[in-house]
Assembly symmetry: C2
């Protein structure tokens, strides 16, 4: 549908009124940040974007990401103006039963990805645009940023990536209203500096008056027609709080709703300034509420064929991951993989060589990698991300937002723990279990051999409730499971047990192998201990773990190649709380030095000898 | 001391030989990444830098940050050439007792800050340069980056900040060797693109041949003389693996040491290509080992005067934090504060107004904020960082590296938990306890009133063993402690207890107040419960907590405004493991919606009513 300039002015007026009414009704929100963007959003939603709002998941719809998520009321007002929500629904925004949250989340059917942590939206848009490029889909991805968030480095990571991949179906608009939350932005209204930055990062730049709808339309038409291998940014010079005299272009009004007492006067002011009496004819027309048909995202179970290994054979777990990933890529067409310049270490380079069209090199830019993965995932790709576990910490805010967005990203972190050896602590993933456990709805797995790796990877591919994370040891470990071993919802396997067990050792990954060695040492002197592989760090069937442990005396040792808090020890004590037992937690307690894997496992007190000594000590005390 | 070009060539030759010998001896490391930077490091350390190596902490020494930390062997070889370590020490690099780790850490006296997670060094250098600027110290800060790490957004955050603060005593050198780990960088040897980027970010740019020592010297002299309000970057075009024919300028040799078998041939090749027979006169001269005098960093205890509050008065904890911070700033001259555009919400703006010279606005760039704080801390500033707890997750990799660097950053996260209300999950710190607990040597505190906030802040100021973190509730909470209350190493206070206690509630922050309300509800019906304020999440005196709980029956409830894993429940179960009791953990288990604080506390099941119901249920079962 094509609107006249007058009709658009009318819509812009309605949006102004509605963002103020809605934020005042909520008693909170960011009206001034909405007011600067009203004309931009009008030109976008009622002129530029091509989409079927009744089918938000339609794969040819243009996409829109509100990177400046605090302008959510404006997005909601647009959807009221489009006829998808009622005025009552808009006025109930920010209340506990409303999907119209303080910042956008996919609880609202027209939102693909949650925003509100600034500087992430562009990376999400890059992921959506990569999806379109790869699948030759015609849609454009629009993303609205604030100028304040241009200070976030994540924006420039994605700016570089978009240009590198020649994404000419991405159109970014920056609402340059020159104010952040506390005060002026770094460059205020110096649009030349901003233009130079984007140009240096390979973008085509247009500068417009962000309150001139006609100019916005012309520029939006132009950039869409003139796609030529580069992403496009429109820098829109705007005024924060535009339209309300006592707040506009002033500091100190960020995130402040007008009070109920102010409301009437503000609405009168808006009417005086923006309303055209000829519009009286339109007013009062009731728009019938449109239905939304949101595609249900039921994904059918899949199983990637697994390579068989021989018991006892030493296999690199990274290689095993790389192999099953490449098989998955060959067998399942919606799997894509992203890595951050370490594919030769994570072994995603097997996938990259075999299926280059679905592999995305993100260079040394983990935030951009996770952000783009979010965008692809929102478009329906089954996304696998890999890098060193330590460097996933660089993108934790993005992972947090992915969790809030309910996106089933599959994340693999290699080079975990002191086991990596000489490279030292900066390269060791030692907090990763804590990070991924804390995320809501996450699945956290930790294979101890290549069979476990393949099977748990299959489990991740079928996990849709949130982020799944696999912790992958750097070195080679002997195969301990046969090809038919089960890795079910229990979360653990009992690898050694007897009727004479007098203690339990709970371990995973590399320390499981140390536990098995300790078992042999103790067995020689007639002491039998139960050995448990906690291959799933989250969730774990606590009742079954309690039963397993209680059947083997009162001594329990947990042992992990991870810092002592937030990892396996915490899982074990949470599961076993209340039982009459003694738990010794072996873990990395100090900042590790460089050394060989064996030296460092001993240094940390998590090798076979340490486990044996600990158990002997406990059993002596126990007598 | 001033060296001739010939003497510098000799040193460069020695460095080439030593990085190859050392990495081959270690059997690991990154020789090709060292070889590209040898001539740069020669020009830097034997010509440009002005420093007294015997006193690495001397406050007028030029500083050096090796942002491309994997070139550590080259840094160590330089210090051998400077006479501070022996050849034997160099050859023992990467072994478990050596301070010469795989990537640089301050265990080596000449390193201020650990590097090895790419893209952070520039922000550290910005912090050091800000310290010099503020204190009118004459030193320059040099930082060597790789071209691969320019993909990290954190670099551009800091580039913008350096320019904003007109840091003209910062000199960055980029070793543009056109290869990352897996393959070519985004721009390879297109130095024009890189130059345009830095210029757009407000830097003066010089482009040099990174293997021409004379040119490097001239440019380094020039930029040092011509300081004029802008930071300077030298883009050095180099060749990865320079000097060893079969690896130089080739992909596939990142992080690969030459084998023992290859060594002799490689050294012969280097000699043929770089050695001047006239140098025979120098060779074999034994340089006497120089002593290092590292200043001991014993900081004397300080106490900031605390504002008294009246019991029962409702006080904003953020305001209490802002007040004690401003007092600290007035009373103690080495305190500096950094915030990321939310000072009006964290209340650091009180400090900013009163002590503008020691307040650093970092705009919306948390990584740059933490990185700069690391640099200031390494220079001896007592640094306080604040932003929303949720957004600290953006800088977790930097915090991780700060922990490895053993820097005592004081970090404050506000807007925690569902208590923040309408703004929704993107703004809620719900993983922060898990994040900060996992860091080695951290202190994690969580005040429940303004008195606790002041006292715990004083404790943080005197904590030097690592990062300290304070979790600050958004809303106002009634004062429950008097001005003389103790917050000692026990980690908790018992606020309600009697001889008839039949259960214990362990809470902190906002949920402590809910626990106190539940106490009153239960008291009315003759049920007495013990109420514990776990004001210190890490460390906690586990023995004392066990004793406290066991004295009050076998029912324990933990309650926290945080996701269920990694926070208070984990602390409690780890402390109470083995005791015959029942623990119910109340926490946030789902992704929260928007709503009022009261609604959301009830929604999450962590309000007074939920605590009361849980206790009633447990007590009934217990009978």
């Amino acid at each position: 549908m094509s609107y006249t300039l007058d009709a658009l002015a009318y819509k812009a007026y309605n949006l102004r009124v509605d963002v103020i009414r809605a934020t005042t009704a909520a008693g909170s929100g960011h009206p001034t940040s909405c007011l600067s963007a009203v004309d931009i959003m009008t030109a976008l939603f009622f002129h530029a974007l091509q989409f079927d709002g009744a089918h938000p998941d339609c794969h040819t719809n243009d996409r829109f990401v509100l990177s400046k998520g605090h302008a959510a009321p404006l997005l909601y007002a647009v959807y009221k103006e489009l006829g998808f929500i009622t005025d009552a629904q808009l006025m109930a925004m920010r209340t506990i039963d409303s999907p119209l949250e303080g910042h956008p989340t996919p609880r609202f059917a027209h939102v693909d990805i949650a925003t509100g942590s600034l500087g992430i939206g562009l990376s999400n848009a890059v992921g959506m645009a990569l999806h379109a490029q790869r699948n030759r889909l015609p849609y454009y991805t629009y993303v609205l940023l604030g100028d304040g968030e241009l200070a976030e480095g994540a924006v420039w990571e994605s700016a570089a990536l978009a240009s590198y991949y020649k994404l000419d179906h991405i159109i970014a608009i920056v609402d340059v209203n020159r104010f952040g939350q506390r005060g002026p932005t770094m460059y205020e209204h110096d649009l030349v500096v901003l233009a130079n930055k984007f140009e240096a990062f390979g973008w085509r730049v247009s500068v417009v008056d962000g309150h001139d709808i006609n100019q916005l339309m012309v520029v939006l038409d132009g950039v869409r027609k003139a796609c030529s291998g580069s992403p496009v940014v429109i820098l829109a010079k705007t005024i924060k709080g535009y339209g309300v005299e006592h707040v506009q272009d002033k500091n100190g009004f960020h995130g402040k709703a007008f009070s109920v007492h102010e409301l009437a006067a503000v609405l009168v002011e808006l009417k005086k300034r923006f309303y055209n009496p000829a519009w009286d004819a339109y007013s009062g027309q009731q728009v019938p509420l449109k239905q939304i048909y949101k595609k249900s995202l039921k994904q059918k179970p899949i199983t990637v064929s697994e390579q068989p290994y021989t018991i006892g054979e030493r296999v690199s777990l990274r290689q095993a991951f790389g192999d099953i990933l490449a098989r998955a890529g060959r067998e399942i067409q919606d799997i894509v993989c992203l890595d951050a310049d370490v594919g030769n270490s994570t072994y995603t380079d097997i996938f990259a060589r075999e299926i280059p069209a679905r592999f995305f090199e993100c260079f040394i830019a983990e935030q951009s990698m996770v952000g783009a993965a979010m965008g692809m995932s929102a478009m329906g790709d089954r996304v696998v991300i890999a890098t060193f576990a330590a460097f996933l910490s660089r993108a934790y805010d993005q992972l947090r937002m992915a969790a809030i967005s309910r996106l089933p990203l599959r994340v693999v972190g290699t080079h975990v723990g002191v086991e990596i050896g000489q490279d030292g602590p900066s390269q060791m993933g030692l907090e990763d279990l804590a990070l991924f456990r804390a995320l809501p709805n996450s699945l956290v797995v930790y294979p101890a051999d290549a069979h476990a790796c393949s099977k748990l990877f299959n489990r991740m591919l079928n996990y849709h409730d949130g982020i799944s994370y696999m912790r992958v040891t750097r070195g080679s470990l002997p195969i301990i499971y046969d090809a038919h071993a089960l890795f079910d919802d229990t979360g653990f396997n009992i690898l050694r047990s007897s009727d004479h067990d007098c203690a339990t050792v709970i371990a995973a990954g590399v320390t499981l192998h140390e536990a098995l060695k300790a078992y042999e040492l103790l067995k020689k002197i007639g002491i039998f201990v139960r050995v448990v592989d906690l291959y799933c760090i989250k969730p774990v069937d606590r009742q079954k773990l309690r039963a397993c442990v209680m059947d083997a005396g009162s001594c329990v040792v947990s042992v992990e190649d991870h810092y002592s808090l937030g990892g396996i020890a915490d899982v074990v004590s949470a599961a076993l709380i209340g039982l009459p037992l003694q738990l010794k937690a072996l873990a990395v307690r100090l900042i590790p030095p460089s050394g060989t894997a064996a030296q460092l496992l001993a240094w940390a007190g998590i090798d076979a000898q340490s486990i044996e000594h600990t158990l002997m000590g406990m059993l002596k005390e126990d007598k």
